[in-house]
Symmetry: C2
Subunit: 700 residues, 2 copies
Amino acid sequence: MVDFYLPWFIAFSCFCALLFAGYLSWKVLRQSRGTERMQEIGDAVKQGARAYLRKQFSVVAVFFGFFFLFFLWLSSRGYISIFVPFAFLSGGFLSALSGYIGMSIATSSGDRTAQMACSGLNSALRTAFSAGAVMSFTVVGLGILHVAGWYYFLDRYFSINPVTAGDDKTALITFILLCSAFGASFQALFARVGGGIFTKSADVGADLVGKIEAGIPEDDPRNAAVIADNVGDCVGDCAGMGADLYESYIGSIVAAMALATATGIGPAAIAAPMAIAGFGILACIIGMFFIRTKEKAGQEYLLRALRRGIFVSVILIAVFSYFIIRRLLGAAHTGIYFSVLSGLFCGVFLGISTEYFTSYKYGPTRWISASALTGPATVIISGLAVGMVSIALPVIIVALVIIASFFLSGGAGNINIGLYGIGMSAVGMLSTLGIVLASDAYGPVADNAGGNAEMSHLPTQVRQRTDALDALGNTTAAVGKGFAIGSAALTALVLIAAYRNNILLLGQNIDMEFMNPRLISGLFIGGMIPFLFCSLTLGSVGRAALKVVEEVRRQFKQIPGLMEGKAKADYARCVNIVTAAAQKEMIFPSLLAVITPVLVGLFIGLEAVVGLLVGALVSGFSLALFMANSGCAWDNAKKYIEAGNYGGKGSDAHKASVVGDTLGDPFKDTSGPSLNILIKLMSMISIILASFIAKNMFFK
Amino acid sequence: MVDFYLPWFIAFSCFCALLFAGYLSWKVLRQSRGTERMQEIGDAVKQGARAYLRKQFSVVAVFFGFFFLFFLWLSSRGYISIFVPFAFLSGGFLSALSGYIGMSIATSSGDRTAQMACSGLNSALRTAFSAGAVMSFTVVGLGILHVAGWYYFLDRYFSINPVTAGDDKTALITFILLCSAFGASFQALFARVGGGIFTKSADVGADLVGKIEAGIPEDDPRNAAVIADNVGDCVGDCAGMGADLYESYIGSIVAAMALATATGIGPAAIAAPMAIAGFGILACIIGMFFIRTKEKAGQEYLLRALRRGIFVSVILIAVFSYFIIRRLLGAAHTGIYFSVLSGLFCGVFLGISTEYFTSYKYGPTRWISASALTGPATVIISGLAVGMVSIALPVIIVALVIIASFFLSGGAGNINIGLYGIGMSAVGMLSTLGIVLASDAYGPVADNAGGNAEMSHLPTQVRQRTDALDALGNTTAAVGKGFAIGSAALTALVLIAAYRNNILLLGQNIDMEFMNPRLISGLFIGGMIPFLFCSLTLGSVGRAALKVVEEVRRQFKQIPGLMEGKAKADYARCVNIVTAAAQKEMIFPSLLAVITPVLVGLFIGLEAVVGLLVGALVSGFSLALFMANSGCAWDNAKKYIEAGNYGGKGSDAHKASVVGDTLGDPFKDTSGPSLNILIKLMSMISIILASFIAKNMFFK
C-alpha cells in the first residue's frame, strides 16, 4: 500500500531543497564583488563559461535531436512507449540545467570569495561553501522533482488510460523513467568529457607554457591561457560535476525503482527509493546547520566542522530510514533497511579510505612527495602505485556491501528482492548527496577565487587563503568522487540486473551461464572499453593542450610588450581554441558508450551485451578509482612540497612533482570521473534498445 | 583411438628440440670471447647472475617446500592424489631449469656477441639470435618432455594400478598434470617478479643516478650500478622470460588436456594438444633454416628474414595440423582444426597489431616522440593513451577467436567440445613458440653485448651495432609479449572452465548464473587484483631503485678518484643490494596470487572464486597488454629521438623521453609480463584446492 501522504512528503522535501538553494544563493549574491578589476575578471570568466556552455549545448542538441527522432521512430514501430522520447529530453534538459545553475553560481561567487578572503579565511570558506551548497541542493531538488513528477504523472495517466493487455503498468512506468535517466546520463557524459577536456587542456597547456617553459607564476595575466584555465574550472568542475551527480542521483533512484517491479512487493517498493531520497534531503539541510566555525578557526577545524555536518545527516538518515522502510514495505521487508544502511556506511568508509590515500597528512601521498627527490619518473611510478593500491579497500567494501545488501534484504529467498536491496544500498549511499556534494563543489569556487586574486594583484595573503581552501577542497573533492564511483558501481549492477530481467521478459532463449562463449567475448570487450575510453580522453587533452601551448607561445612572440606587462594577452582566442577542440574531441568518446552495446548486441548477441556491461563495470570501476585517486594524490603531493617539504617551491623536487600533477589533471578530472557515467550509460542504452536488438540480431 | 606411433612422434620432436638447442649452443660457444677486459666483464655478469639465481632459488625453495608438505598432507587426507606433490615439484624444477639454461647461454654470449659486433652487424645478430634460440628450443623441448613424460607414465601406471571406483582415470591424470603446471607457474611468477624487480630497479637506479643526475653515459663503468643492470638483463629478461614462457607453453597444453576429458571424444583428445605442439617444434626448426641474411644486409632485411622464418613455420603448422587432427580425432571433429588455425592466426595478428603500436616506424610511437617537445608530462600522457588504445584490437581479436574456436569446433552441440576448442586455439598459438621466442630472447643478449662493449671501451661503432640489434629486439620482444599475454587469456579461460567442471563434479550446489551476488562480488575483487599486483610490483621497483641511487651516490662521494676513473666502483655491493631487495619484495605479490582464491573461496564461496578468476582475467588481460605496449612504445619513442629526431640525443625532448622510458621499464618488464602468469596461477590453485575449499567453507 503506497502511503497517501507520500507524494506530499516528497514534494515537500523537493520544495525545501530548492528553497534552501535559493536562500543560499541570495546569501552569496548579496556579498560584495570587490574592486573593479576583480569584477572585470569575474565577468570575463563568466562570459567565457557561458559562451562555452552555449556552444556545447548546441552540439549536444544535435545528438539529442537525433536520438529524439530515433526514439519517436521506435515508438511508432511499437518497440517503446510514446512517452520515452519526451522523458529522454526532460532528463537531458534537467541534467544540463543542474550543471548550468551550478556553474552560474560558481562563476558569480569566484570574485566574491576572493573579496571575502581579503578579510579572513573563515568568511571566504562560508561564501565558497554556500556556493557549493547551492549547486548540491539544486541537483537533489531537481532530481527528485523530476523522478517523482514523471512517476506520479504516469501513474495517474495509466490509471485513466489503461495499458494494453500483456503490458505491465509499473514495468512500463519504470522503463520510461529509465529513459529519462538515460537522457540525463547522456547529457552528463558530454558535459564531463567536453568540460573535462576543456578544463584540463587549458590547465595543462597554461602550466606547460607558463610555469615550466616561461617560468612565470600560475595565473599570471601575461599568460593568455589563464582565463581559459579559470573558465575551465567552471565548465568542467562545476557544470560537468553538477550534470554528473544529477545523473548519479536520479540513476540510482530509477534503477532501484526499475527492479522494484520484479520484487512482487507492490507499488510501495517503487516509492521507497524516492521516500529515502526525500528524507535524505531534509537530513542534509539539517546537517548544513551544524557546519559552524568560529571566526579565525584553523583549517583542521573547518574540516571537522564539515565532517560534523555530514555525520549528523548520516545519523538522521540511519535512524529514520528504518521507520520509512517499516511503514512503506511492512515488517516482512525490514531487511531492506539494512541494505540502505550498508550503502550509507559504505559511502562513509569509501570517504575515509579515499582520504587516507590522497591526503598529504598520511603516508602514501608523502611517499610520492619523497620520491620527487629522484625526479619525475619516480613521482609517476609511486603515484601510479599509490593509485593502484588505493582501490583494494574500496573494491572489497563494495563487494561486501553487495553481499550484505543482497542477503540481508532477503535475496536468498527471492533473487529480485536481493537485487532490489543492492539498488536500495546505492540510494542509501546517495541520500547524503546534498551535503557531500556541497563540500565537493566548493573546491572549484575556491580555485577560481585564487585565480581572480592573482590576476587582480590582490595581496599575496589573499592568495594564500584561497590556496588553503583549495587544498582542503582537494580532499573533499576526492571523497565526492569516491561517492560517485562507488554508487555508480552499485547502480550499474542494478541496471544490468534490470537488463537481464528485461531480456528474460522478451522471451528470448538466453543462456546466462558463465561459460557461454558469447558472454565471455562480451566480457573481454567490455573490460577493454574503459581503457579505450580513457585513451581517447587522455589523447584529447594531450592534443588540445598542445594547441594551447602553441597559441600562447605565438602570443609571447608576436604581441609586443606582452612579457613586460605593457600589452594585454588575447584571452578570448585561447578560450575559442579550447572550446573548438573540446567540442570536436568529446563526440567520439561519448558516442562510444552508446554505440558499443548496440554493435555487440547486433553482431554477437544479447548475452554478449550482459558480458560487455559486466566487463566494463568490473574494469571501469577499478580504473576510475585508480585514476581519480592517483590524480588527487599527485596534486596533494605537489601541495605538500609547496608547503615547504623536500626543498619546497622552486626546487627540483617541486618541478618533478609538477609533472605528476600535470599528468594527474586529466586522470582525476577528465578520464576518471567520466568512467562512472560511461558504465551506467552503456547499461541504460542496452535496456532501452533490448527489444529492438532482439528482433534485429545478425548472428542468432 | 590414440595413435600407436604418437608417443614416438612426440619423443622424436622433443629429442629434435633439445638436439637443436645443443647444436646452436655449441655454435655460439665456439665463438671468441674477445679481449681480456671483455671476458672479465662477461664473467662478472655471469657470476652476479648465478649468485642471484642461487639466492632466488633458495628463497623459492622454502615456498616449494611448504606447498610440497601441504600437498602431501592434502593427499594423506584424500583430497588429492599422492602424485600431486611430486608433479608440483617437477614443474617447478623444469621451469627453473629452463630459466637457468636460458640465462646461462645469454650470459655466455654477451661478450661473444660484442666481439662479433666488431666485425659486423650480421654476424652479431647471428650469435645473439642463436643464443636466443637455444633458450627457446630448450623451453619447448623440456616442456613437451615434461608433459608427455608424466602423461604416459601415469597412463601406464593407472593401467596397472586401476584408480579407485568413482574416480575417472583421465580426469585424475590431467589433474596431476595441472598440478605440475601449477608448479611451473608458481616458480615462473617468482622468477618474473623477482627478476623483474631486480632488473628494473638496477636499470632505473643506474639511469637516475648516472644519466640524469651525474650526466655520465649509460653503462659507464664509474657507475656502480652498471654491472647490476647487466646482471638484471640476464636474470629478469632471460631467466624470467624462460620460466614464464615455459609455464605458458605447458599451461596451454595441460589446460586443453584437462578439458579433453569432459568432451567425450576419448583419449585421442588428450593426446592431440601434445601432437600439435610436437609438430610445432619440427615446424619451428624448419623455419629456423629460412632465417638467412646476406652479410652486410641492413636492419630492415634482418627483420624480414626473421618474419620469413616465422611465416614458414606458421604455414607448415597450418597445413599439417589438419592431418594431425583428422587422424587423431576423426572426421567428426575436423572443426577442432579450425580452432587450432584461429589460434595460430590470432598470434600472427596480435604480433602485427603490437608492432604497429610500438615500433617507431608508425604513427603512435612517433606521436609520443613528438609530445616529448612539451616535456615529460605530455610524454607520459601520450604514452598512456597509446598503450590504452593499443589493447582495443587485440582484445577484439581474442574475443572473436573465442567465438570462432568455440562454434567452429562444435561447441553449439556440446559446450565442453567448444571449450576444448578454445584450449586448442591457445595450443595452436603457442605451437610457433620455438621460433617466436627465439626472436624475443635475443634482445637481452644484444643489450648485454652493448653493455660489455661500453665497459670494455670498444670503438663506438660496436656500440652502435649492438644498439641497432637492441632496437630490433625491442619490437620482436613486444611481439613475444603479445603472444604470451594473448595465449594466457585463452589458457586462463580454459582453466576457469576446467575449474567450473571440477566444482560441478564435486556435486556442490552451485549457481553459475551471472546475477549470483557471490559471483558478482568475486568479479569485483578479481577485477581489482591485477591493479593491486601492479601496485605492489611498481612500488617494489621504486623502493629498490631508491636504494641503488643512494648506494651509487655514496660511492661517488666516498670512493676517492672514482669520478676521474682512477678508482674502481664497488659493483658487487650494488648487486647484493638489489638482490636482497628483489628477494624481499617478490614474496608478497607472488603469494597474493595463491592466497586470494583460497580466502575468497573460504569466505565468500566457490561461485565467488569463479567470479574472482573471470574478473582477474578480464581486467588483467587489458592491463597486461596496456602496460607491455606502453612500456615498449616509450622505449622506442626514446630511440626514435636518439636516432636524430626532435633534437636528438641530449636535447630537452630526449630528456623528457628518458622519463617515459624509465617509467616504461617496470611497465614492460616487471608488472605487465607477470600479470599473464598471475591470472593462470590463480585459476590453477583454485582447481587444485577446490575440493578442500568446498569442504571447509565458512559461509555456505
